[in-house]
């Protein structure tokens, strides 16, 4: 049932992807540090090649084991790394033109792949508990959600770094000025609806051509807004993953919610990001305070995935 040649091919392609991402990371950082356009382009090309090899690796794994290639932690981490790179290349690099983020995105992918390698499991069949079409639905949603949260965390971390490194956001964008943020949209606000802001001018401002600006790096405000928009995209995906997981749990374990550690931590992650969205939308939190909440949310996501599977005994322990 297992095709060893394909499994070996998948492993080799995985290594090629890991090396390519590492090289791309160095090139993209060099491009950022020395403002070398050529290095940036070369890094992007190497990253794209690595993503191609990575896609083939994932496909080969699925074919080798004759099943969906996300049945254990190695495969899950590998998929998350792939989606972070793909998300960066298609959305951040091509659509927003923010090549300056590239080195960090590649760094995140290298970390995800290194974690995958540490959790390596040879290609094999699934345990019976995973033998359901919900594996395709629930796990894919969880992987996509995790990848989006990872991308948003890159923006958040860079925002926090940038905010600290002197490139202070304008007063209206920092946390202490809830009042200022409120006043922005009070004009014309009447009965009925709560006030809320989901601004994206800042992100669009950063989306223009990178050249010509004195500081090539996206502004703190742009990073803040990008992080917010990415969370707003990831949150419904994560919500769906949790719901699909509950439906699957109802099929497999006889209850849709049982406070299993995985369920509990998925819920905690959901609550923290829900708090983040509320804080931004209704309380008008921006900048540092919101970023800290988002960073806590991502830490909770890491616990949900790694700590729960590796150290806390529960019903998801098989997915090791």
């Amino acid at each position: 049932m297992i095709d060893p040649a394909l499994a070996r091919l998948s492993d080799n392609l995985f290594w090629i992807a890991l090396v390519a991402y590492s090289v791309a990371m160095v090139l993209l950082f060099a491009g950022l540090a020395y403002r070398a356009r050529l290095a940036g382009s070369a890094g992007t090309a190497v990253a794209a090649l690595g993503a191609g090899a990575h896609a083939l690796s994932i496909a080969a794994r699925g074919l080798a084991a004759a099943r969906a290639p996300w049945g254990n932690m190695y495969e899950y981490s590998s998929m998350v790394g792939f989606l972070v790179v793909a998300g960066y290349l298609f959305s951040v690099d091509r659509r927003l033109g923010l090549r300056e983020i590239g080195g960090f995105a590649m760094g995140a992918a290298v970390l995800a792949l290194a974690a995958a390698r540490l959790l390596y499991a040879p290609a094999g069949p699934l345990v019976p508990a995973l033998g359901s079409y919900w594996l395709k639905i629930h796990v894919v949603a969880a992987i996509v959600g995790s990848s989006l949260f990872a991308l948003s965390f890159i923006f958040t971390a860079l925002y926090l770094f940038k905010d600290r490194a002197g490139g202070r956001a304008p007063a209206a964008l920092t946390g202490s000025t809830v009042g200022a943020a409120w006043s922005g949209a009070t004009a014309g606000v009447e009965e009925g609806f709560p006030r809320d802001h989901l601004d994206d001018e800042e992100a669009r401002g950063a989306a223009g051509p990178a050249g010509g600006r004195p500081d090539r790096f996206p502004s703190a405000a742009a990073l803040d807004s990008l992080a917010h928009r990415t969370v707003a995209f990831a949150f419904p995906v994560w919500t769906f993953a949790v719901i699909a997981g509950a439906i699957w749990a109802h099929e497999a374990w006889g209850r849709y919610w049982g406070w299993d550690p995985k369920e509990t931590w998925a819920f905690i992650t959901w609550v923290i990001y829900a708090g983040y969205l509320h804080a931004r939308a209704t309380a008008g939190w921006r900048g540092r305070r919101a970023a800290v909440v988002a960073a806590i949310g991502f830490a909770s996501l890491l616990v949900t995935y790694y700590a729960v599977n590796l150290w806390i005994v529960g019903l998801h322990s098989y997915a090791r």
Binding site: V127, G131, A187, G192, F193
Partner: protein, 529 residues
Amino acid sequence: MRSPLPDAAHVSRPVQSPLSAARAFGRWLLRMRTAIFLLLALAAGSAVGSLMPQRPVDPAAVDGWIARHRALAPLAERFGLFDVFGAWWFMAIYLLLVVSLTGCVVPRLRAFARAVRSRPRARASFDGLPLRRAIAVPLVAVSAGDPVLEAAARALRRRRFRVARAGAQVAAEKGYLREGGSLLFHSALLALLLGATIGRGFGFTAQVAVVEGGGFTDTHVAYDSIREGRFFGERHRGFRVALEAFDVRWHSDGVPADFVSRVRVLEGDRVVRRAAIRVNHPLAYRGVRVYQIAWGWAPRVRVTQRGRVLADGEVVFLDDRATGAFRGVVKAPSAAPAQLGLEMWLYNDLGIARGRVPFNRSPQARRPVLLYQEHRGDLRLDRPQSVYQLDPVGLVPGGAGTVPLGDTAVLGDGIEVSFPGLKQYSVFQVASDPGTPVALAAAVLALAGLLAALYTSRRRVWVRAEPGGDSIRLDVAGLAFQRKAAFEEEFEGLVRDLRERLGGAVLARPGDPPGAPDPTVRPAGVRGR
């Protein structure tokens, strides 16, 4: 959370009557910040529940924790940390959250209903609106202001705005789905909690181990363990599930491929259903679902003393994590001269590692052997005890040995232990949860509401016509509450559309004379923050 009160209030706080204190508490409870605080508290509480061993899940782990943390154990016990999800404070947070959420949603629902019923309102002044354009429509094109406004209203309706005419003004609004979706999401969360509560109150969850050839009847006493909802009221269905066979299929490397319980469902003596219950494929019958959750070995053990049968039957052996074998006990109180307890380990494919350590070479039953350890003395059967454990207090360990399948071992006092057969048992989870459809519908609605709330935006447009000398001046103003950049494009498109339809010229800024450079060609217009 910072206190909403200024510091001075703490210094000279007036004496509060209970009523005003209750009112203050009510106000606090209904604030959205409180709802988020409660939600985070619920998250923090459940984090504790996932890190501490929980009695309903693994009582042995709780005992281990208590033994390791003698000093902290009473405190943990006091605050229900060994059963967080059933603790009073967890329930309290949960209930406060329900009240707070309801308190948030109901007034907003009312306001939203009002907003939906009312027509978009005209504005006295366009000052302070972020987006503004003026179009000069030559009087050769139209003779009066009204057809111009009518054209503007049509253009807005085409863009699916709700439009209202008020005198010389058109007011339009779009994006009601944002608040509607948000309300749907929050109401659905309440419905989800309701569904969970219905399930807990009116359902039951039970577990039962059934040896091949045996079965269970859906009654309170038939289950090994059961949790019935407060309002379940013993409404068991009384049907019988008989286990004909249990199969485990293996991959070549010893990984299980599938577990299958072949069952018949009986009402009285009549077979009403045959089914194969597998992991992920439960049996659903009369609102009760039967799940395959575990399995194990049940060796038949026969204990005799000089021809007299002391014990005979299949014994359910539990997976013994310590040895990798299955472990069970046989109690023979009628043995003489003292009562006999046998502690047994089943190795279904016995191998002996270096150091004479027994181990299982594969999970299949290729060479089943029972290892036994005798205990003589008082079984203390007058006390409540587990069928899987011996009470060691009154017992003295005796001899030990092995019995392969089909063989007999001879103990002292004419006692013989034989191992004539080996069967498997299947563990079923049996559950009835009448709240599931409610919860599922609520979850789907919550997701739909969430998508609407996150990806739609609310915006307003006003159009005003003023007759001038040789032209009608059309003022257009717009306001977006979210996604302002996207609305700017939409607004420019609307202005362009109006100009083309009416044959007018766009004035660069409100108040500029006609003939100024057309800003829609190079949109760098007014941008309000």
